[in-house]
Symmetry: C2
Subunit: 619 residues, 2 copies
């Protein structure tokens, strides 16, 4: 089952643009070098069913995470990696130095190991690091009042060119539970949110290929896709393919959770080809370095791993520093104990040494490393519940309090920080998680896994968790970590990644709608209008997964003609409510009378007239 690892082939990468879509680049005003990628979906005209008059439907611009892969003008070569769009921005700030060599011992060991030559990424840039005494985090700049190109990029990106739509929007007012979402996102608003820690722009200076994005409760809800090999499956090629594939379908971030062979090299390939920020759990690799014996882990090995990964360009680290010694016994009576891999590793270390973990005791040193590269903290919830019964227990909330303390320390160092959350939680106990997190962690962005709202549906856990994810997103969570259908059962393949990503995109969007995020309803309205007008192609193209929508439609009515038919396979022509609705509407319009008036006066007369004309409204 396990293949020998090799460098990936160019042919693996999907580079087709989405149907009827074009890539556009919106330039910055403060920083003209900023070119924000978006996808514009072109629509066909509306044809009036009575007069035949055509009305143009404006293209719909949507948030685009797919990077250069959907831009036919870009040449993609997986061996070179993608364009480092942020490199000059970083250099222009004048606060970084290029190092002659990598600082991590382990990294140099790997580079000097000729047995790895065949699977190495060969165009390594020199690593960058903050000059001595400098802090290169976006939070630091924000606190200094500086609007970076990254901040302007995300401001433009968040608006999706919908300023006009937002102004005219008739969408439902939302319920945002105390968020403060402005109608239009300005670069200054982004700066303020980053400065106060309420938002994070993951942006390691060594990952210049990444298109800036922002996490925060006052921004669009984002999603993360986990990929990564394990000791029993997968190859570098598969993982790179999954990464690009995940971005294509809408992943805003990717975590490489590899725990198998060649973790270092796998990560290099992923980062060099990733247009979205990459997160990792460094303790996984550290554990590999001590052959899987948790108790042999040391601060030195861990520190070297942090530096190794920071110089590769990892944008955020999950650090389970909240797993304190005293909390471990709180998990003994749980049904599923500790289900976080990182959490269980640290728990084992703590018990073996009967000490607080080195992640907790060395936290300020970790901050020093983070700020030298602008790696963000994703403070891990090592004690998250792994089943409904264990939800919201003492262990979970004790750790959350500690994460709140650590957040304040990270902020003291101007290190960007967000907080991981559960897990498995029944619906009625979800909001307590959000409320406690906001309070304990000073509104630092929340980043949750699901939560899964029942344990009884393995094989469908993208859905059990999609329910919880939509809800917690609505309550204020900034990023939702996807769950695939394979959760609890196996490692996701490419199809599972797509299903997981789309499920979480729709959950995140449902959350945006419920929060009343300005402009969020625009795409729903455009799609529903297309649906009502039987513009089938537009309906497909506006959907999150145009290919699947088309495929499902074609399964029952494959003929091209069916895509301009004013009915579908569900009802057939006579039972089509949309068709009848249009007739009702046309009827009113054609008579050029007020709808209500028509009904209130002269009913009998109108009825006769209608029948005389054959009772058909398309005349």
């Amino acid at each position: 089952m396990k293949k020998k690892d090799t460098a990936p082939q160019d042919t693996i990468i999907s580079t087709t643009p989405f149907p009827s879509s074009k890539k556009i680049y919106v330039p910055g005003a403060i920083h003209p070098q900023v070119k924000v990628a978006m996808r514009e979906i072109e629509l066909s005209d509306t044809v009036d069913s009575i007069t035949g008059k055509r009305t143009v439907n404006q293209p719909v611009t949507v948030y685009d995470t797919s990077g250069p892969y959907t831009d036919p003008s870009k040449e993609i070569n997986v061996h070179n990696g993608i364009e480092p769009i942020r490199e000059q921005w970083v250099l222009d700030r004048g606060d970084v130095e290029e190092l002659d060599s990598f600082s991590s011992e382990y990294c140099n060991e790997r580079l000097n190991d000729s047995s790895l030559d065949h699977l190495r990424f060969n165009h390594l840039r020199k690593p960058k690091r903050a000059k001595k005494g400098k802090n290169v985090s976006q939070m630091y700049y924000a606190k200094q009042g500086i609007i970076t190109p990254e901040m302007e990029y995300v401001a433009i990106r968040e608006n999706q060119k919908l300023q006009e739509v937002k102004r005219l929007s008739k969408q439902h007012p939302g319920q945002d539970f105390g968020a403060s979402i402005p109608e239009v996102i300005t670069p200054e608003f982004v700066r303020e949110e980053v400065a106060r820690g309420r938002a994070v722009i993951p942006s390691n200076i060594n990952h210049p290929e990444s298109e800036p994005m922002i996490l925060g409760r006052n921004f669009l809800v984002k999603i993360n896709a986990n990929i990564g090999n394990s000791a029993t499956t997968s190859s570098i090629e598969e993982e790179v393919e999954k990464a690009v594939w995940a971005c294509r379908w809408g992943a805003d971030n990717i975590m490489d959770l590899s725990t198998g062979k060649n973790i270092h090299e796998t990560r290099e390939w992923i980062i060099r080809n990733s247009p979205v920020p990459i997160g990792t759990v460094p303790i996984y690799q550290a554990l590999e370095k001590v052959n899987g014996k948790a108790e042999d882990l040391t601060w030195e090995i861990f520190k070297d791993t942090l530096i190794e990964q920071a110089e590769q360009g990892v944008d955020y680290f999950t650090i389970h520093a909240g797993v304190r010694l005293a909390y471990v016994p709180m998990t003994a009576k749980r049904i599923t104990g500790i289900v976080s891999r990182g959490g269980s590793i640290m728990a084992k270390w703590c018990l073996a040494h009967h000490k607080e973990s080195f992640l907790y005791t060395h936290f300020e040193e970790i901050c020093e490393i983070m700020k030298a590269y602008d790696v963000a903290f994703s403070l891990g919830d090592g004690l998250r519940p792994g089943c409904i019964a264990d939800a919201n227990d003492e262990a979970q909330f004790a750790e959350l309090e500690t994460l709140g303390e650590l957040t304040k320390i990270a902020w003291k160092h101007d290190v960007q920080t967000f907080i991981e959350g559960p897990g498995h939680v029944p619906m009625h106990m979800i909001k307590a998680n959000m409320d406690k997190q906001l309070e304990a962690c000073g509104e630092a962005p929340f980043y949750t896994l699901g939560p899964l709202t029942t344990d009884i549906a393995p094989g469908y856990d993208h859905i059990t968790s999609g329910i919880g994810a939509a809800m917690i997103g609505w309550y204020g969570t900034a990023m939702l970590c996807y769950v695939t259908p394979k959760e609890h059962l196996g490692l996701p393949n490419k199809d599972d990644v797509r299903t997981g990503v789309i499920t979480y995109k729709l959950a995140a969007h449902a959350a945006d709608l419920a929060k009343g995020h300005p402009g969020a309803q625009h795409r729903d309205d455009a799609l529903s209008k297309a649906r009502f007008e039987f513009r089938w192609e537009d309906q497909f193209n506006l959907s999150l997964d145009p290919e699947l929508a088309r495929e499902y439609h074609d399964e029952t009515l494959p003929a091209e003609g069916a895509k301009i038919a004013h009915f579908c396979s569900m009802c057939g022509p006579k039972f089509c409510s949309m068709k009848i609705s249009q007739e009702v509407r046309d009827y009113a319009a054609k008579k050029e009378i007020d709808d209500r008036k028509a009904l209130e006066t002269g009913m009998q007369e109108k009825a006769e007239e209608f029948k005389e004309k054959g009772s058909e409204v398309y005349l």
Copy 2:
């Protein structure tokens, strides 16, 4: 694409029991002839990882909608239909008469048409009807203080043999928004709930094959699966197969929404082979009878259709009597107008005639028919929103008020009644639907389609709607009408039915958990315990879809040995948090000391000892 219709083959029907499951029958106490079918899932032993001691895990009983098809002792022959378990109960009440022939003109026309012989179900029973002046509805009996066998059946069924578990249950207290769910459901409680209209037991006297089930906010949340052909697709055989298949996976009710050819015969085959109640929308067939011209519909044609279907055994009728003339213009400015097929048909009729619909004006006559067979009302939401923009608008809520008025009329006739709800609604506007329905309709059970929480994911609308369904189920909805992945795109095939049913089962269960339904957490706990103990087979067997869970597991680790392995393909052995958790737990247990004490005292000593012994906890 369209096949010629024929009678179905016996071989189409899936009759395999679920793995490690046996069918059990729990007898009634008041009515010993009642035998309530349940599924008992057998589990393997827990083996203590230190002592090797085996502990027996009690079998888990689960709600079983699959009927005789999963009982190997029953002979299944699709041409005979399944056993009419309720027939004698109905006869014993002494208030029905067997008719010599069917009362509906149309039915007799079909029976006399020899061109239909090849696709006819040939073992028709004589139709039953209430004797003159009698009312045979469960609501009528309930109001008379009579506990029917149907009521005792559902009481036993709802408890799932969990009385003991409920008593000892340590599950999370729920948030039930004012429901009144008792710890144990008694037949008397069922009677009270039916009498006050807060619950419905759909049970047409002409569908004795149906195993009684109950809808109400104080009972387990139920789901409905829609099947049915259309003018462009499907056959009788496919529809019968889908019906049995839907029951297998957990459908509590089925609606036959056929609008194509041979609706009468298709329905006959489905009812005779269905162990769950069947609902229809009679206006669909009535429309077929007038060749699809809504304005040609008459009360007489509709009435004949009601009687035709009532004598076949349809358990509930969707009747769109709330679509009043004055409400139609309220839909003119909507993005998607009227999306209910029945609603749009009636709206067209109202406009054409400039009159109130005959469903509204003849409502009391409809009640007379309903109570002669115990057909329940599913009062249709003909003006439900078809997109996010149209949610909770004037038209929708005006109709809901009318449905409330009609409920009171139906109750005056002791006709069982439940109310249909939306549709497309963003998350934050869902609760208003439930609250208004409870108020307007006097707590009559609510039965909703989704709602879909965004419009932008065609192909994934089982999920966009599963989110809304779980939420509204939590708020108090009694039954959730499933949505399949094909919604808006095509007619569901067998796979889509399975996906839709399981998605809605998990949503309904998530709702039960959130409401704190007594005993609901038992299956979650059993599955999670199996998961933690690496009892893979038990994990699969306890899940809603054991086949898929196993299939996904085997995709990455197919060897049989992997199913007893103490790790899985996700993490491999070194990274398995569950394995490490068990070590942590064993460690504490083995030392025979209090967990906390172990940590607070003599830490260094313990650490040394642990390391000396090789730092492995399995010694």
